[in-house]
């Protein structure tokens, strides 16, 4: 008769096999369990290996039975503390443990002449020199953000550190975690399994882990030099932040009532909550001591250059291209900027009717379509003149739109709009010909294929163009964009430029990169050393997780989303992000391909 012992905690037995063992061990790690030790029992033909863990007051025993002479995988990739116990297993029971990793902080040192009693049993051979790669995700990123490092910081339970790592190259992780088109995920090695690591959501997790988004960092010593930044879009915010951190006095002039530029008016609220955007931008400005002047339009650069040592122009691409067809100015034909600005900036609503036709195939046309879905339209068709392969909108966005009931018709272009109520939109089918300057095949109209549809509203979304006020006196190219040299300097001395104003409509991350690089160049011209370029971090020790064969086949963690019925009713955020457990699971799938043995 066994008496009940009066102690807290109980013992829990978990039976595992080699297949689900790592899932269970990763679960224990996510529950903050502590590795205690490993016991082995000899059962004749096989051996029972018991992993003991402490979880709260409880003891969890993970029991694994294995035939003798068959290797078991090492768990040091998850619990490095197990390496002593695993060496003991090898010595006392002749169980082969494959892939023991002494990767405490990401190092695997090989030392010559390790003897029999060495606990670690390092491989014999010359000591390797440290070798680092950028990693495929990092190379794919326009701003070269150190993604492998912040993924590791999430694994190590330091998401705040990950947030800081991100800001070294791009200052707005919380915003990017929601809107970035994530080229890193396309480059990820896990992409081979069609399930890349969800780097964007991990980035978002690092930001979600600090609700105020304020970091409490110090600026460099003040230099007393003054810089003006014209335009409060992503390029301007990035430039102002890095210049401020390098010790300059920065003033940002913004035409609208709030900062954010294209992120402010162009990105729908269901993707990027506007109060979060304002919080993050103001947090960066507070850290860098940036002065913000809203509702201030700059007409000329000359007076600015008298007051400031340098000027950065980042006014973006704000004008739209015209369709160039008959009836374009009829009532009911609107620009996508109109509908997005009404909803995002003025918090207003507009009557788009039931039937909406959207012309164009970019992300902005999808945004316009999804926004009109939320404004009450039910029959929405996007007309694009090429096929799905050439469509510039991201696949994720297209999927989201189709889920919400938006139809897309390819190889179709408008030829004429007849005013009236409803509007009569005449369209024409196309076929693909030779490749043009952008590398995409040129659409050629098919004669006699015209047809007409009746719609309430036509939304034009065929791209934005750059318009520079002539009073600026900057040299522009054929497309009306500002001409800059390799150092982001314009034709006027003391004036730098970057972002959409130089390269046409691009992604947020590219504008942030331009801002950082221009800030670095401005600092150099003012006598500083510039912001450090994104380079290999040799100080951080990186190791390869040894259970690579396991993690290769781990499925990615799906992000939680709002229900389809619920999300077309309002402008709430659709993606809900990861919680801590999901983020750990997802970040644990990283291969660490920036490390080389």
């Amino acid at each position: 008769m066994v008496q009940e012992y009066k102690v807290k905690g109980k013992t829990e037995d978990v039976v595992a096999d080699k297949v689900d063992m790592f899932i269970k061990i990763n679960d224990l790690k996510a529950q903050n369990a502590r590795m205690m030790t490993i016991t082995a029992r000899d059962l004749g033909t096989e051996v029972e290996v018991i992993y003991h863990f402490e979880r709260g007051f409880d003891v969890v025993n993970l029991r694994l039975k294995t035939p003798k002479n068959e290797p078991i995988p090492s768990i040091t990739g998850v619990f490095p503390a197990a390496f002593i116990a695993e060496n003991e297993l090898q010595d006392m029971f002749n169980i082969k443990v494959s892939g023991i990793n002494i990767d405490f902080d990401g190092r695997l040192m090989k030392i010559e002449g390790a003897n029999e009693t060495t606990l670690l049993k390092p491989a014999v051979g010359p000591m390797p020199f440290i070798k680092r790669f950028y990693g495929r995700c990092r190379e794919a990123c326009p701003a070269m953000v150190n993604a492998p490092k912040y993924i590791r910081q999430v694994v190590m339970g330091d998401p705040q550190g990950g947030y800081n790592t991100h800001i070294e190259q791009a200052p707005l992780p919380a915003i990017l975690g929601r809107v970035c088109f994530a080229p890193c995920e396309e480059a990820c090695r896990q992409e081979k399994n069609e399930e890349p690591i969800q780097i964007r959501f991990l980035k978002r997790f690092t930001a979600d882990s600090m609700p105020s988004l304020r970091r409490g960092v110090k600026r460099a010593e003040l230099t007393g030099r003054k810089v003006a930044v014209v335009g409060g879009g992503p390029a301007g915010v990035s430039c102002a932040f890095y210049l401020g951190m390098m010790g300059h006095d920065v003033t940002v002039f913004e035409k609208e009532k709030g900062c954010g530029g294209a992120m402010y008016w162009g990105i729908p609220k269901y993707k990027l909550p506007k109060d979060l955007m304002e919080t993050e931008i103001s947090a960066r400005f507070e850290e860098a001591g940036v002065e913000l002047k809203t509702n201030t339009e700059i007409k000329e650069l000359k007076p600015l250059l008298e007051k400031f040592d340098a000027v950065f122009v980042g006014i973006g691409a704000v004008d739209s291209y015209k369709l160039g067809i008959e009836g374009e100015d009829s009532e009911g034909v609107i620009d996508f900027r109109e509908i997005l600005t009404t909803v995002n900036v003025r918090n207003g609503t507009m009557n788009v009717g039931d039937r909406v036709a959207v012309i164009g195939g970019g992300n902005s046309s999808i945004d316009a379509a999804r926004t009109s879905r939320r404004l009450g339209a039910t029959r929405i068709i996007i007309y694009y003149r090429r096929t799905e392969r050439e469509m510039p909108a991201s696949t994720h966005e297209i999927q989201g739109a189709i889920q919400e009931g938006v139809n897309i018709e390819y190889l179709t272009t408008p030829v004429k709009i007849t005013s009236g109520k409803p509007l009569k939109l005449e369209l024409q089918h196309m076929e693909l010909g030779e490749a043009d300057s952008s590398g995409r095949r040129r659409p050629i109209p098919i004669k006699g294929s015209e047809f007409t549809v009746e719609v309430d509203t036509v939304i034009k979304a065929i791209g934005q163009s750059v318009v520079i006020p002539a009073e600026f006196g900057l040299e522009v190219n054929r497309q009306g964009r500002v001409v800059i040299n390799d150092n982001y300097e314009t034709s006027m001395k003391g004036v730098w430029a970057g972002g959409d104003v130089c390269f046409g409509p691009k992604f947020v991350i590219e504008a942030l990169r331009d801002g950082r690089k221009a800030a670095s160049e401005i600092d150099k011209s003012l006598g500083g050393e510039g912001w450090p370029e994104s380079s290999l971090d040799l100080e951080e020790y990186v190791g390869r997780p040894m259970n690579l064969s396991e993690i290769r086949f781990m499925e990615h963690v799906q992000v939680r989303e709002l229900d389809q019925e619920e999300r077309i009713m309002n402008f709430d955020e659709v993606e809900l992000g990861y919680d801590e457990y999901e983020a750990l699971r997802e970040a644990g799938r990283c291969w660490r391909c920036d490390w080389n043995e």
């Binding site: 008496q3 009066k6 502590r34 030790t37 003891v59 006392m92 670690l120």
Partner: protein
């Protein structure tokens, strides 16, 4: 973007530390890899005094194992015997009577006191504070002679039995305890400002041997090592033996460095004195042994708190007088992975204090490696 395949080559110095070294009381070999004065890697190498105790436990009579287990460690031997007995008691159901539980608490806290004094003294020695080392060890002598007065031995008490204790204490003995421990308390109070404020000690160990909170759990640290990183992990929390009735709260420091770990030990000295005081006041009258001759048949895990951290016993009996398996995990074995991380990034001159900050007890740990035959 730029050169993706760029790599850097660095030259390192590899030098040995131990197994025979002035600051090491017991043999452990640490192989340091240094970049000039900075340590970049440490490879621990154990196995110099392996004694095969776990195997011997399977060959011995299970009752004689008590004395064998007490010889696993030379400092905290009492707790080893107590943990082994506790595990067997769990299997056979021979729970110790309440008075025996209180006696076990008193003697294990005495073991903790003398161990912490030893450790604090060696720590002072590693810093180069010779007079403090002498003073601390003089105070330790009071406790050792107290052990001798009550049990007849200075270190190996050997008062454990399966189901209770071998020896009891009467009123006159309690009086002797009170007097001697009162003396120790006065001495400790005199030492307190030295440990808490002395500039030499602080300068040598503040900010050295950093073990961040997240890593402490991740690497499985135990005892004062994890409590110095701000985590209240203490097996006494479970309330084994009589700890559940003594209003025990673990001592925690948030500094994450060598200094915090040393302060945890110093404050635990005062806490141990309080616990003994309270245990002697609350100790009930009654029998001290619950005799049970049944052979163990079953599995039990018993965890207790040693001066260096959590002690882990896995005992499996098969219904005969010999055990099927006895697995011992001593706290220093769990603290070696954190030690390796603690050392990295610090200077060679800081090695002695950082190694001492985990209070290594190598003879406990040494049993774990099995020397190859013919070596």
């Amino acid at each position: 973007m730029s050169d993706a395949q760029s790599a850097t080559k660095k030259a390192y110095t590899v030098f040995p530390f131990g197994p025979q070294h002035p600051v090491l009381p017991e043999p452990i070999h640490l192989r340091f890899v240094a970049d000039e004065e900075k340590i970049v890697d440490v490879v621990p190498n154990l196995g110099y005094v392996h004694r095969g105790i776990e195997r011997a436990c399977e060959l011995n009579d299970y009752k004689r194992n008590i004395y064998l287990c007490e010889r696993v460690c030379g400092i905290c031997n009492y707790i080893h015997g107590m943990t082994y007995c506790g595990a067997i008691e769990r299997i056979t159901g021979a729970e110790a009577p309440p008075r025996a539980k209180y006696l076990r608490v008193i003697w294990s806290e005495l073991a903790r006191l003398q161990s912490h004094f030893l450790s604090l003294g060696l720590f002072a020695d590693a810093i180069g504070f010779e007079s403090l080392f002498m003073q601390v060890w003089r105070d330790r002598e009071i406790i050792l002679s107290l052990n001798e007065k009550t049990n007849g031995h200075r270190i190996h008490l050997e008062t454990n039995m399966i189901g209770g204790c071998r020896k009891d204490m009467d009123e006159s003995m309690v009086k002797v305890y009170r007097e001697d421990l009162g003396l120790v308390r006065r001495r400790v109070e005199a030492l307190e400002p030295v440990f808490h404020r002395d500039a030499a000690i602080r300068g040598k160990c503040e900010g050295k041997g950093i073990l961040p909170k997240s890593k402490a759990v991740f690497l499985g640290a135990v005892g004062p090592t994890i409590r110095g990183s701000g985590i209240p992990q203490d097996t006494r929390n479970l309330g084994y033996e009589a700890y559940g009735e003594l209003d025990f709260k673990p001592i925690v420091y948030e500094g994450e460095d060598s200094y915090s770990r040393m302060l945890v030990r110093f404050d635990e000295v005062i806490q141990s004195l309080d616990l003994i005081e309270r245990a002697m006041k609350q100790m009930p009258e009654g029998p001290i042994l619950n005799k049970n001759e049944k052979f163990p048949d079953g599995v039990a895990i018993n965890r207790t708190e040693q001066p260096r951290g959590e002690l882990f016993y896995y005992v499996e009996g098969n219904g005969t007088n010999k055990l099927q398996r006895c697995k011992i995990r001593t706290p220093t074995a769990a603290n070696i992975p954190p030690l390796v991380t603690m050392l990295i990034g610090h200077e060679i001159a800081d090695i002695p204090t950082i190694v001492h900050s985990i209070d290594p007890c190598i003879s406990c740990t040494e049993r774990i490696t099995y020397l190859k035959r013919g070596k």
